[in-house]
């Protein structure tokens, strides 16, 4: 979804300040600037603690990086961004040194720029569609790093811009789940003038941003700051409230809620169903990361326990697997291993995460797949049996299918195994609404333009609709759904209807 039409973008591009900036430096000079490297904490240093890996660009660096952007007539980068951020405009604000204006531009279409600047798979989205990548064969403008810079700058000033809201219309709407989908829907709905209440099942707000993605990639205070901003817009948050359990949809309707956005995520961890998977020490990445991130289990003053494994194997090759294995390293693992059944090329994790993991000394047992776990007499896992794999023909996803090599099994010593092979949609909402149309994968079926489900007053988006996806796609869905809900409520309340 692109946020703005071409006419609008063009008119913004013709603004005097942008024309002048373009004239200021020749295109040739711009393209000669090398992409700046994000300053990082030393790998050996950072693997000992939970500090953020990336330090962020300095003002000077951000301006230089912003100069690389050519402010293209046809800014292809925008089409690569699922929420259609006006990328050249925000970057040119940075070039001009107007950092707060840059942040404001981001917030026109993105409720959580500080988050996206950190966790978006930019190389597969905006930066992939940048003119530098597409036409020049050079490294793209560091859009993600610049986005992060502008959002952080604004936050550090201590008074972030609170988006304007239309006059309150007195209509109550509910958002279920406080992950990125729910937060971005809440922001737009509040902007339209609704009384928005966000219900969250857990005792903390933020969904995966809090319980999944670790502090060293996305500090919790950043998520909290963005949530506070929504509170300033009048959004009400209710924690410890499981919709479908604490109250049903009917109860909420009776309370006066006229429409619902469901952003309940894909929280249900998958297991492989191989022998020994229920031994002690074999756990899902959700459990492991929840214990550490949400429950503070690695800090002594917190009550929730977590085992600090010495030889830790993480099964899988996605972002969740990287987060788990890097967490294990930080909790003192001697060997922190990724076991992945394909090769590096097929790994779904963000490039930056893979790169950081390798720097931190993570071992990669690629083209390997566990077939069984063994345990000591108390049921504690002590070995995994791995089978070697080869790559065969491409499968439906276009990635080459792994094929087991017969007779290649071997044992590896482990005392902790973290299973990170994907998640399924959370079944709580569907269970509580028998009329809701679901796909065979357990996702909610919606109209792809309005995000409306088979229950007219219920809209949905994010992982509950897509299965496991990304933060920015979830946010894009939230925005689309907010627009869909707005149209739905307007049509319902029109006189004569």
């Amino acid at each position: 979804m692109s946020g703005f039409d071409a006419e609008y973008l063009k008119s913004r591009r013709e603004a005097e300040w942008r024309v002048n900036l373009r004239k200021g430096i020749k295109a040739k000079e711009r393209t000669n600037i090398e992409r700046l490297k994000m300053p990082e904490v030393d790998p050996l240093e950072r693997a000992k603690g939970h500090m953020e890996v990336n330090n962020g660009l300095t003002k000077e660096m951000a301006i230089v990086e912003a100069q690389r952007c050519l402010d293209c007539v046809n800014p292809t980068c925008i089409s690569g961004c699922p929420v259609g951020i006006n990328i050249p405009e925000f970057i040119k604000h940075i070039e001009a040194g107007n950092f707060l204006d840059a942040a404001r531009t981001l917030k026109e279409t993105n409720a959580l720029p500080a988050v996206c600047g950190r966790v978006c798979p930019q190389e597969a989205q905006c930066e992939k569609s940048c003119f530098y990548t597409e036409k020049l064969g050079k490294k793209p403008v560091a859009i993600g790093n610049l986005e992060r810079f502008a959002a952080d700058f604004e936050r550090d000033t201590g008074n972030a811009y609170v988006p304007e809201i239309n006059e309150k219309n007195g209509i109550k709407v509910a958002v279920i789940g406080s992950g990125p989908a729910g937060l971005s829907a809440a922001k737009d709905l509040a902007g339209f003038g609704y009384n928005v209440t966000v219900f969250e099942a857990l005792h903390e707000l933020g969904g995966v941003l809090k319980y999944g993605i670790p502090e060293f990639r996305l500090p919790n205070e950043i998520v909290d700051f963005e949530i506070d901003n929504l509170k300033k817009m009048g959004v009400k948050f209710i924690k410890n409230f499981v919709v479908g359990k604490t109250a049903s949809f009917d109860d909420l309707k009776q309370e006066g809620f006229e429409a619902f956005f469901v952003g309940s995520g894909a929280g249900l961890p998958n297991f492989m169903n191989i022998p020994g998977e229920n031994y002690i020490g074999v756990l899902s990445s959700n459990e492991y990361l929840t214990r550490v991130n949400l429950m503070g289990a690695a800090k002594p003053e917190y009550d929730t326990p977590v085992v600090h494994g010495k030889n830790v194997a993480v099964i899988g090759g996605g972002n969740t697997a990287m987060d788990s294995v890097r967490t294990a390293k930080r909790l003192g693992a001697k060997r922190a291993m990724i076991v992945y059944r394909r090769s590096f090329e097929e790994m779904p994790a963000r490039l930056e995460e893979l790169h950081h993991a390798r720097e931190e000394g993570i071992e990669f047992l690629n083209l390997n797949n566990p077939v069984k776990y063994l345990a000591d007499k108390n049921g504690h896992v002590n070995k995994m049996v791995l089978q070697k794999m080869e790559l065969g023909e491409p499968d439906a996803s276009g990635r080459r299918r792994p094929v087991p090599v017969e007779g290649s099994e071997y044992e590896v010593e482990v005392d902790q195994v973290i299973v990170s092979i994907g998640v399924s949609p959370n079944p709580l909402i569907p269970q509580s609404l028998p009329g809701l149309k679901m796909s065979k994968w357990g996702t909610i079926e919606v109209d792809s333009d309005t995000m409306q489900s088979s229950v007219p007053e219920l809209f949905a988006g994010g992982d509950i609709v897509r299965g496991g996806a990304t933060v920015i796609l979830a946010m894009g869905d939230g925005r689309k759904a907010a627009a869909g809900m707005h149209a739905y409520i307007k049509s319902k309340t029109k006189p004569g209807n």
């Binding site: 099942a201 857990l202 005792h203 319980y211 924690k239 410890n240 409230f241 499981v242 359990k245 604490t246 109250a247 929280g267 249900l268 961890p269 297991f271 169903n273 998977e277 229920n278 031994y279 002690i280 020490g281 756990l283 899902s284 959700n286 459990e287 929840t290 214990r291 429950m295 503070g296 800090k299 003053e301 917190y302 009550d303 929730t304 326990p305 085992v307 108390n378 049921g379 959370n426 079944p427 709580l428």
Partner: protein, 277 residues
Amino acid sequence: MSRIVTKEFLSENVVKLELEAPLIAKKRKAGHFVIVKIGKEGERIPLTISQANPDKGTITLIIQRVGVTSHKLSMMNEGDEVTDLVGPLGHATKIENVGTVLCAGGGVGIAPLLPIVEAMHDAGNRIITVLAARNRELLILEKEIRAHSDEVIIMTDDGSYGTKGLVTNGMEEVINREKVNLAITIGPAIMMKFTSMLTKKYSIPTIASLNSIMVDGTGMCGACRVSVGGKTKFVCVDGPEFDAHEVDFDELLMRLGAYKEQEIEAYSRYLEVIKNR
């Protein structure tokens, strides 16, 4: 935040708390549980809703002190606030009239058994309840259970009250005497294992309410998984009640020990701290 309205010790290590939770009180059915967390640094623990009063907007939890969190709860007083309380979670018990129901409750398992006994009795079943405890002092909720049972048999390990013997002895006596249509067993995993073996021998359908380790209680982590009929199930969203004859109790017992070392260490540290206060 939920305020504690009343507090009472039922035995030396078992405390009964009545908490303000109007929404949960309204929705809750027999078999449901809540997750409780105390303070910012607290852990999330599951506790069955033993009773609820929708008019007053309160629920009652009965807690046995076994570790840090249960101990912290037992130290709280009327007027104190429990930081986080969420529920009702899990599937409610299937309540229907089946004829004669033999209920077995062991230790603090009597607390979650109470609402089921009550509901099953209200549904018109003949209820025979066997309560088991190590000794007379540790037996809880006898009066309440009696109010909803046609017959109550009490077993103690030391014979200090009722009959000396195990819960299975009491159950077998009933089974040999009359037709039992359904058995319900709630208590320590080891007790459920043996009661389940007994009823299997007599082909009596049996339900067990499992007490696995949990974190979120909403199906997100898989900490609570158990094998039922050879398939992995999540106790928090698929249970907590299952066909006892299909449950792999040995695995449940094993998994309950997953964090034993850390728990024992944390508990002794905690007891040290409160002793020195």
